[in-house]
Each structure stands twice: as structure tokens, then as C-alpha cells.
């Protein structure tokens, strides 16, 4: 594995805003080569926003996001393209192109970024489908696949270019426990067999504890802690324990703010 001194992902003081609402409050975040990092947090904790910044889909209001040593907000087109060829992303809903067959979806990055001949591309994309146990399904259209198969096909597309860095958004959302357990196994296998560094965003505790080397817990735009599975389990932070034990949080009502929200005329 590469030296631990240079993290593959290095985020410093990242702030994100939607309109006048601040989503991330100066987040620092680093992932080292070869680890599986799980970003955990409740709904509205900012984990999806953090992911979109990591993928370069949003420009940070302030702070920097460095992937593989490149500051992606200030990189040239060419540098950014070079980074993007080395990362793979599996989106929550799969995001397979519905107009292409499963095989063509997996082959798409290869067709666009390499000069390999068609036969090689076909074999490579079928190999990736075999990795995710979808061998033989290359001629189906995405609409003909089940939820779990869509996620696995999306994973096959994400690893088509043998990325150094793999992002996985909510791998188990909307899947039954068996299928999501299989996906967890698959993620572990990818790290071990292909030596990928993997970032998983999820709110499923069970899967997070099973696959993570380390966990980052986000809450309301702040990182509560980053640590090993055990450290997170035994942490005495109240919010983290709320998350782990599925306790509803106690919301304290600020009387003035409450009245103001009720009576305010326009936002």
C-alpha cells in the first residue's frame, strides 16, 4: 500500500451553503489509501452534500477538496479529467443510462476514455459484470433489473476503469437484508482483491459496522468524530449514541425563534 503520509482524499475547512442555509460548517476530512471509510449520519446531517463536494459536483464556498493530491475546484479541465478517470462512483439509484444496455453502461467509461478495440472492451466489461455476479446479464436494459441488480451493475460501471478510489452512496438503501449483506461482502472483496480505497455514505448501522475500517460521523454539518468501529461504538457523545440506539433526539424549542418562524411573512 502507498505511504500513509499522503491521504487520497484531503478536505480542509469545507463550507457548503444552499441559499442562506449552511450545510457544512468547515469540515476537515481525510481518507488514507487502502481503507474503507464510512460516512455516517442521519438525514440532513450533510453527508450527501459532503459526497457531492468530494465528487466535484459542487464547488465549495470556502475550503478545499483535494482528491489524489489535486485541488478539484482549481484544477484545469485536463487535471480534473485525469482525476475522474481514477475514481468510480456508484450512485444511490444506480444512475445507469436507461438508453443503454447493462453491458454498454459498463463499457461506457472504457469506450470514452480508452482506445481499446471493441472486442477487448466487451471482454473487460463482461469481466466487471462477473465481479459483481451479473455475468450474462449484459444484454438486459436497466429497466429490466431488480433494485439489487441495478446497484451491482452501477458498481460494475464504477470499477470499469479500475479506479483507485471508489465512492458508494447508500449501498443498502431500498434493498432487502440479504441483498444488502451481499453488497457489503462485495465491497470488502473489492478492497482486498483490487486494493481500492472506498468511501461509503450510509445511514445503515449494521452495514457500516461490518465494512468500515474507520467511521466518520456527521451531524448537522459538523464532524462529531472519526474513529475505528470500536471507538465509535463506545463513544460517549450523546448524539452518536442517539444514532446508534435509534433514539429520537430531544429538540429544544427556542420560544423567540419559534414565534418568529410562525409570524414571519417572507423568507
Amino acid at each position: 500500500m502507498t505511504s500513509a503520509s499522503a491521504p487520497l482524499i484531503d478536505v480542509t475547512k469545507l463550507e457548503a451553503w444552499y441559499g442562506r442555509r449552511r450545510i457544512l460548517n468547515g469540515v476537515d476530512f481525510a481518507v488514507n489509501a487502502g481503507e474503507i471509510r464510512v460516512i455516517m449520519g442521519g438525514s440532513g446531517s450533510g453527508k450527501s452534500t459532503l459526497l457531492r463536494h468530494l465528487l466535484g459536483l459542487h464547488k465549495p464556498r470556502s475550503g478545499t477538496v483535494r482528491l489524489l493530491g489535486v485541488d478539484i475546484a482549481r484544477a484545469s479541465e485536463r487535471e480534473l479529467l485525469a482525476v475522474r478517470r481514477q475514481i468510480g462512483v456508484s450512485f444511490q439509484g444506480g444512475a445507469l443510462l436507461t438508453s443503454l444496455s447493462v453491458g454498454d453502461n459498463v463499457a461506457l467509461p472504457l469506450r470514452e476514455h480508452t482506445n481499446l478495440d471493441e472486442a477487448t472492451i466487451r471482454i473487460m466489461s463482461r469481466l466487471k459484470l462477473e465481479v459483481v455476479n451479473l455475468g450474462g446479464f449484459q444484454d438486459l436494459m436497466p429497466a429490466q433489473l431488480s433494485g439489487g441488480m441495478v446497484k451491482r451493475a452501477a458498481l460494475a460501471r464504477a470499477i470499469a476503469m479500475d479506479p483507485k478510489l471508489l465512492f458508494f452512496d447508500e449501498p443498502s438503501a431500498g434493498l432487502d437484508p440479504v441483498v444488502s449483506a451481499e453488497l457489503d461482502e462485495l465491497i470488502l472483496r473489492l478492497r482486498d482483491a483490487l486494493r481500492m480505497t472506498i468511501v461509503v455514505v450510509t445511514h445503515e448501522l449494521e452495514s457500516a459496522f461490518k465494512i468500515a475500517d474507520s467511521i466518520t460521523v456527521l451531524d448537522q454539518g459538523d464532524i462529531l468524530m472519526t474513529g475505528t468501529v470500536d471507538a465509535v461504538r463506545h463513544c460517549d457523545n450523546e448524539r452518536i449514541q442517539d444514532l446508534l440506539n435509534r433514539r429520537p433526539r430531544e429538540i429544544q424549542v427556542d420560544a423567540d425563534a419559534y414565534l418568529k418562524r410562525l409570524t414571519e411573512e417572507a423568507a
Binding site: L55, E77, L81, A95, H113
Partner: protein, 265 residues
């Protein structure tokens, strides 16, 4: 203060919104042309296959309906001009009236409106549903520029196919007018057409073709930009589709009027 300032505020918001929309469309045009010309240098080449596929969808698939409509328009113009001009005993002027109005106006206009309804809406729906299901994001993270992959092929295909369809519509509409009017004028259709050809100048035909190229840009940019800015799920896609068609047709008619004004002074 609200009753007074609120309309002003919404007017201001709408104005800013409209300008932002025009700016966005202009940026899309610039980027699409940039990728079409220089894309291969930065690893984002415009794929010929994608352009050909769009050309098939926009042009070839529309051949039948364009032919049918153009023929109908030609017959309709024949009927109207014969009725109107015979009041002055000027039936012989039907040929020149049809020839000029078809090549300068109707060929380009009808084709553009038809293509806006067929392909402008399809572009908005396709790109809109792709944005909603994160396919556009997926393309971007794969290092495939969505504008290069989705917008540029459509723009180039439209710029080629709309003028071609317009020329076809011109020819078919004149044929339709010839078929209807030649008995009324006591000439053969062949004589009607050869008279048309002698009356038409290259400028008349070019006027229609130039317009159709502008319409092509309008239809593509409006379809693509409404598609990319879809928010709000399936309902948003539906709204964007309608919006793309209505906006395209409005712009086509307004721009047509402006062009006609300047080209015929």
C-alpha cells in the same frame, strides 16, 4: 408596503430569471461548439456516432410528417392565393406568391415548429429525466462532460437536419401548390414548377435556410437548457417538456418576424 412592492419584486425576480436563462443558453451554445471543435484535444471528443444517431432521430424520423404537412400547407396556400388573387383578376400571380411565401416563410417556419414539437420536447424530456435520476451527475463523475455527450451532438445534428428538412418542405409545398393550382390556372404542373423555378432567386431560398439554422440553435438550446435545469422529479420533467415546446415556438415566431423585417428592407 407589500401590496406595492410585491409585484415589483416578482417582476424583478422574473427579469433576473429570464436573463439568467438566456445567459445559461448562451454558455451552453459556447460550450457545445467548443467541444465540437476542440473537444478531441482535451479528451472530450464529439462522437460521430452520437451525431448520426441524433440526425436520424431529428431528421430522418421526421421525413414523413414534414412531407405530409408541407404538402398540406402548399395546397392550402394554393387555395387561398387563388381565391384572394382572383378577386383582382390576378390569378397568374399565384405562382410567384406561393413560391416566395413558401421559400421565405412557410417552409422554414412549419418545419421548425414541427421539429420543436418532436425533438425539442424529446431533448428536454430525455435530459430532464437523466438529471432527475442522477445520470447527468454520473456522466460528470465518469469524466464525460454532460454538455459534450448530450448537448453538442444534438446541436450539430439539428444544425444539419433542420435546413435539410426545410429545403424538402419548400419543394414539397410548391409541389402541393402546383398540383392544386395548375388546373385552375390552365397549365400543367410541370409548367407551373418550371415557372416557379424561373421566378425564384437564390436569395429567397437562402433566406429560409438561414432562418432554419437560427431556429435549429433556438430549439436545441431551449430543449437542452430546460432539460438540464429540471428539478422536482417526474412532474418537473413533464413541466420542462411543455415549457421547452412553448418557449421554442414563441421564440421561433418572434425571431422569424425580426428576421423577415431585416431581410426584406
Amino acid at each position: 408596503m407589500n401590496t406595492l412592492t410585491r409585484p415589483l419584486e416578482s417582476l424583478g425576480r422574473a427579469t433576473v430569471h429570464a436573463f439568467a436563462g438566456v445567459g445559461y443558453a448562451a454558455a451552453l451554445l459556447g460550450e457545445s461548439l467548443y467541444f465540437a471543435v476542440f473537444g478531441w484535444r482535451i479528451g472530450q471528443p464529439l462522437r460521430l456516432r452520437a451525431v448520426l444517431e441524433q440526425m436520424r432521430q431529428i431528421g430522418v424520423d421526421a421525413l414523413a410528417i414534414v412531407t405530409l404537412l408541407a404538402l398540406t400547407i402548399g395546397v392550402m396556400l394554393g387555395i387561398q392565393f387563388i381565391a384572394a388573387l382572383s378577386e383582382f383578376g390576378a390569378q397568374s400571380q399565384v405562382v410567384v406568391a406561393v413560391a416566395k411565401s413558401v421559400t421565405r416563410e412557410f417552409g422554414a417556419l412549419i418545419t421548425a415548429i414541427l421539429v420543436a414539437g418532436r425533438s425539442g420536447s424529446a431533448l428536454a424530456a430525455r435530459i430532464g429525466s437523466m438529471s432527475v435520476s442522477q445520470e447527468v451527475d454520473a456522466l460528470a463523475t465518469m469524466g464525460i462532460e454532460p454538455v459534450r455527450y448530450l448537448a453538442a451532438p444534438a446541436l450539430i445534428a439539428m444544425l444539419v437536419m433542420l435546413p435539410v428538412l426545410t429545403i424538402l418542405a419548400d419543394a414539397v409545398a410548391i409541389l402541393g401548390a402546383a398540383l392544386y393550382s395548375s388546373p385552375a390556372l390552365n397549365v400543367t404542373p410541370a409548367a407551373y414548377i418550371s415557372q416557379t423555378l424561373s421566378l425564384l432567386s437564390a436569395g429567397d431560398v437562402w433566406q429560409g435556410i438561414a432562418k432554419s439554422a437560427v431556429f435549429a440553435v433556438l430549439i436545441t438550446l431551449i430543449g437542452v437548457s430546460t432539460g438540464f435545469s429540471v428539478a422536482g422529479g417526474a412532474e418537473g420533467v413533464g413541466r420542462a417538456t411543455t415549457r421547452a415546446v412553448v418557449l421554442s415556438i414563441c421564440w421561433i415566431i418572434v425571431v422569424d418576424m425580426i428576421f423577415s423585417f431585416f431581410l426584406n428592407r
